[in-house]
Every structure is written in structure tokens, then in C-alpha cells.
Symmetry: none
Subunit: 224 residues, 2 copies
DNA sequence: ACCGGTCTTGACGGGTTCCTGACGGGGCCG
DNA sequence: CGGCCCCGTCAGGAACCCGTCAAGACCGGT
């Protein structure tokens, strides 16, 4: 039916979840720490992620932050802490639901059903190609002419935001907000500087942009 | 920002929710029983519904059942009962989230943010075609004969306002207000200048407008 | 402490867009 | 027939936006 990635460091709970989810007709992939969670998410392309916040290596919110830039499906967060402050933080970090331990298994399944029902109609094609370069959203890698291109974190954030909406215009306010934060809405300088760098690295002729076009006064557009 | 329909029979809680939601930047519509809830939902077109299960006239699940066939936005259910059986029933009846009373207000707001972030799937067909040009509202792009047409921000704002109401007359006051702001209600000059530019870019014969027609003394009309 | 890479910030020239006023034509009404 | 209102057109200057460059701040690793 659908593929679920379960991330938890408790082997017993992991086992219980695996059995229950499989009985409910799901395909199950598991990870016991944050690093493998991110790796598995990129490799297995799950439809939904169940994420425990208490992991041995990374903080759960870090996993969430690593997931969100490219993973568009729902994320259900599990946590031993029922503090409402934690809930708000996790939800605002990109989680779609938050369940406190101990939880009722049938409720968890119902919440997963509710999340999957809203099913992402978005085709999860995490790799975008043009005649001159390729962007792999999941692997966070860009290649031009077969050669990998080095991008700084900011450059990547900007490019992925544009590439995720192929052909659509992305307003400068939206770009500034998602890449730098809501406080930088007016700093259109940044866009000019970083768009120039991206064009220098990706465009065949940076002076005459073909893929990263600018719409004066409105924003930028990636056209494949 | 977005419109929230709150359904609850407790006037005190209703008041608290109205104040808090409005402070968070939402537009709030309220209903105290199931019948008016269904009526308001149809009339006000809310983006999200907060629904208390304990209503005087109808059972909350009945309201949910009456809502779901046509309302595609998210529904967050409130309930005094924290029983997991109730939760499963409500979620499987079409609810997107379930919060037990008493609840923490900041958590409720965060859950609403999470639901709204998933954005309502736009049922509207955001692309308008004529024999000579095409307007894609979502991508913010206009093409004439397959070739993209460059529009300035003001031109686009004006065109999209007209195209959003195909065949209907749009008053000059409304155009001036939404494009330039409420202070420019009398500057009908602007409309003349920019309509001329749009016609020059889109009409096959700008001197004899076929799509962007003017209704003397009233406003303009886009006829596909 | 040094150093390389990255991010911020400021300034400048060239091009575009916006606003504004003026002019002429056409329809409506007295 | 004449006056008035409304609309379309044009052009010029001011304001704005973009691309570019370069220097300083910041940060992490050595």
C-alpha cells in the first residue's frame, strides 16, 4: 500500500511498530538513529515518516530539518515528552502530527491513515534535468556535464527552492523568507548576489540566463 | 491570512478562540451548533474548520459527514473525551487532527499552522486560455502564440484581477484599489495607461480590443 | 593564531518601470 | 450643433530594480 519509514532507537518499540504497520498493509523501512534515517529516507522514498525525537546521535529536530528541504510527504513525530512547548517546536519545524509516548497503537494508525489520506499527489521525482545540468533534490547534488558542482549551503537552499517549482515564478519575498528567514524580507541584495553565483556555476552563458531567469520586480523562475 | 470556522457551543471558549485566532492573523467565523456550522461552512468558504464534537443539535460526526462530501480543507476536531476509540472514529470519519480538552492554546495554534501549511489542494483550474494567448495564474506566466510575454508587476496585477473574473465586469474602483491601493481610487488615468499596454502586448489588434473590453464609465471586462 | 571558504554589506552604472501631464477623438445630452 | 465627459495615446523625467564587483565580517578547521 504505502511505504513507512520508522525512526526509533528502542528495538522493542521498533519491532512492535514494524509488526503492526505491516499487519495494516504498509511496507516498513526502519532506522535506529538520525544519520541512517536521513540516508534511508533518501534511498527508500517513503510516503510517510514516523520519527522519534529522542535519538542517540542527532536531535530529532535536526533530522526533521534535514528531511524537510526535499521530503514533501507527511512526518509524524513521536516523543516521550508531552510538553506543549516541544509540540509547538516540532510542528513548526515541519512535523505534521505529534504523538506523546506512551501512545495507543490504534490511534497512531488512525493518525497515519489521516495523514496518508491527504496523500501527496506531487510526483516524488527528486531529480530535475536540463540540457546542461542535473539537480538531485534527495542527494543534494548538482552535476553539470557529468561533473559534480560544489554549492555552498545558501546557494543550495536557493536553488532547491527554485527547482522545486519548475516553470513557476517564485516571489522574492518567498525566497528570502524560506532561505534566510522572515526577518530578511527586504534584503533583495542577497538574491542578486547568490543568483549571480548560481548562474556562474550552472548557466552555459551566465550573462544571458537560460534556466534561472529573473522577472523584474517580482521574483525568479527556473525553466527546465 | 486565512479563514477559520470555529464550531463550539461553549460561548466562553468560542470567545477565547476568536480572540486568539484573530491575534494570530486569521479571519474567524463562528457557529454554536451543527446546523449553522454547515450553513456557515457553505457560505464563508473557510480554509480550515475547528469542530467541537459535543454540540447541542447534531452529533459532531454528523457535522463531519455533512462537511466532507464537498469541503476539501482540513478539519481539526476538539473533544472533551480523550478516549482513543473516539479519536480513531473521528479521524476515520474524515478529521485531520484530534485535540482533547482541556488543550493548550499554543499547541492548537501550532497544529493549525501545520494543517494550513499543507495548503488546500486548489481545485480551481488556474490557467485561462483564449484563441490568442494563455494566462497561467499559478505560474504567473502569460504566453501568446507559444512565446512567453514579459509583463511588468503592475501589468500582471491588473491582468490577473481581470482574468480571475472571466466575462464579469470589474469596476474601476475595485481595480484601482486592489492594484494600487485604497488611496488611488480616483486615478483612472492609470487604468487607461496600463490597459493600453496590456492590449498592445496581448490583443491581436490593439486598436479594436477583443478580450480586454472597456465598459465606459464603469470598468473593464475580460471575455475569453 | 592563521587561513580558506562563506556570508554580509555597500556602492555604482545601465536599463526598465512607473508616474504624470497634455492632447485629441468619439459618444451622449441638452 | 456645441459642450462635456470619458477614453486612448504619447512622451519625458524621476524612481526603482538588477547585475556586478569588491572589501570586510564571520566561522571552522589546522
Amino acid at each position: 500500500m504505502s511505504r513507512v519509514l520508522v525512526v526509533d532507537d528502542d528495538p522493542q518499540l521498533l519491532r512492535a511498530l514494524r509488526i503492526t504497520l505491516r499487519a495494516a498493509g504498509h511496507e516498513v523501512v526502519t532506522a535506529a538513529d538520525g544519520r541512517t534515517a536521513l540516508h534511508e529516507a533518501a534511498a527508500a522514498h517513503p510516503d510517510v515518516v514516523v520519527l522519534d525525537l529522542g535519538l542517540p546521535d542527532l536531535d530529532g529536530t535536526e533530522v526533521l530539518a534535514g528531511l524537510r528541504p526535499w521530503f514533501s510527504g507527511p512526518v509524524l513525530v513521536l516523543s516521550a515528552r508531552g510538553d506543549s512547548h516541544d509540540k509547538v517546536a516540532a510542528l513548526d519545524a515541519g512535523a505534521d502530527d505529534y504523538v506523546s509516548k506512551p501512545f495507543d497503537m490504534s490511534e497512531l494508525l488512525a493518525r497515519l491513515r489521516a495523514l496518508l489520506r491527504r496523500g501527496a499527489p506531487e510526483v516524488d521525482e527528486p531529480v530535475v534535468r536540463t540540457a546542461h545540468f542535473t539537480v538531485d533534490l534527495a542527494a543534494r547534488q548538482v552535476t553539470a556535464g557529468g561533473v559534480p558542482v560544489r554549492l555552498t549551503p545558501t546557494e543550495w537552499a536557493l536553488l532547491s527552492e527554485l527547482v522545486r517549482a519548475p516553470g513557476r515564478l517564485v516571489g522574492q519575498r518567498q525566497l528570502l523568507q524560506t532561505v534566510w528567514g522572515p526577518a530578511y524580507e527586504k534584503e533583495t541584495n542577497y538574491l542578486r548576489v547568490y543568483l549571480a553565483q548560481l548562474r556562474r556555476k550552472l548557466e552555459p552563458d551566465p550573462a544571458a540566463p537560460r534556466y534561472l531567469r529573473t522577472e523584474p520586480g517580482m521574483g525568479y523562475r527556473f525553466t527546465p
